[in-house]
Symmetry: C2
């Protein structure tokens, strides 16, 4: 049986997993709203971000309370501090999903995504979905091997991000500047979303091994 | 006289102020590198970001050590946890300065900023410089009134950001798509840089008053 402190830690971890579920759902629905020009869905994503923010704040408050009451040291302290950081990353992922939904809302009844970029944006949304699901599994399982695999999805996201720019730059672009600006920002939102998921997984690796993965930038301070 | 714990807290706060100085200098030099197509300066900004990351990590390590050794509660605990958050925001501001420098490097020997956008980018860089200097003063002084004033600079940054898009959209754009993508991303970097500075100042307000400023988004979980 676990003591009260470790039960509280488990509770915080469950909330982190729940946050991955919420921000995963948010980005999935934001992507659909974007691709289908679905105003109602976009509005629902924008409104739902409040629940992510609330969970983030609750989690922070409980983590700080745990620090104050239990005064953990060593590994336990490291877990609480790292939980605070992961919660902040996940909250930001929720913001990025909201940003995507806002572009969808702004361009309604048109879609912000022209036909020649649909395939790439669809793939980016699928990578985002995959990476956040894996991120949730890693937070739940603390599986270091699985955590390191997120890098591959992030590489795929970077490849798609470069491909998106190629659509804009290959000389056949006929959709005007406003649409190009939208796609540039949307691409950035997906890329940052994946970066944050990789960072969260990297923090799990740090908790388990005491070291950040060398390749994901956390070792250099991401 | 202050006790050892509060002296250590003062030391952490001094380092936060030093971080504002470093990321202010970085964005100032990145802006100059961008506007003057100065490759050497751009490289120096990119290289110097390591020092910001190092200071961030040192600061984090000392903050966690302080939690472990001194086990602060109440206000003291809140200060340490908030310091961790502010350090993360400032580290991110350093990344954004590096991103601006990277665009300058990518387009060298050309400037990424065409004549019609120079004035706006110059103004954005000046607002960035002003806001980070104010941010440093606020972190040093804990002056709540001064902290709230950063919102005005952030409003100015948002205005300039919208103006930048107008350059791209007013129908007279003749600089091609690559340059438009660069400006879209550069504009986003400056805007995010200012957002982070406002968030840091908002955290100072929270430390002093126990509440986040209503208008800057922290109250809703930024």
């Amino acid at each position: 049986m676990r003591d009260a402190f470790h039960e509280a830690l488990d509770g915080l971890n469950d909330d982190l997993v729940e946050m991955t579920r919420l921000v995963g759902s948010a980005m999935g629905r934001a992507s659909q709203a974007l691709l289908d020009a679905d105003l109602e869905l976009a509005e629902s994503v924008i409104a739902a971000d409040e629940a992510v923010d609330k969970l983030h704040h609750d989690l922070e408050a409980r983590a700080v309370e745990l620090l104050a009451r239990q005064q953990p040291v060593a590994t336990d302290l490291r877990i609480v501090v790292t939980t605070l950081r992961m919660s902040a990353e996940l909250e930001r992922m929720g913001d990025l999903a909201r940003h995507v939904a806002k572009v969808a809302r702004l361009r309604y009844p048109d879609s912000a995504v022209p036909p020649q970029a649909r395939g790439t944006i669809l793939e980016m949304s699928q990578v985002a979905e995959r990476i956040v699901v894996k991120c949730g599994s890693v937070v739940a399982s603390k599986d270091v091997e699985a955590a390191l695999q997120l890098e591959r999805d992030d590489d795929e996201m970077d490849r798609l991000h470069r491909l998106l720019f190629r659509h804009l730059l290959d000389g056949s672009w006929d959709q005007g500047m406003e649409c190009a600006i939208d796609l540039t920002l949307i691409g950035r939102y997906y890329e940052r979303y994946a970066d944050h998921a990789v960072t969260v997984a990297g923090r799990v690796v740090y908790l388990v091994t005491g070291e950040y993965p060398a390749t994901n930038g956390l070792a250099q301070g991401a």
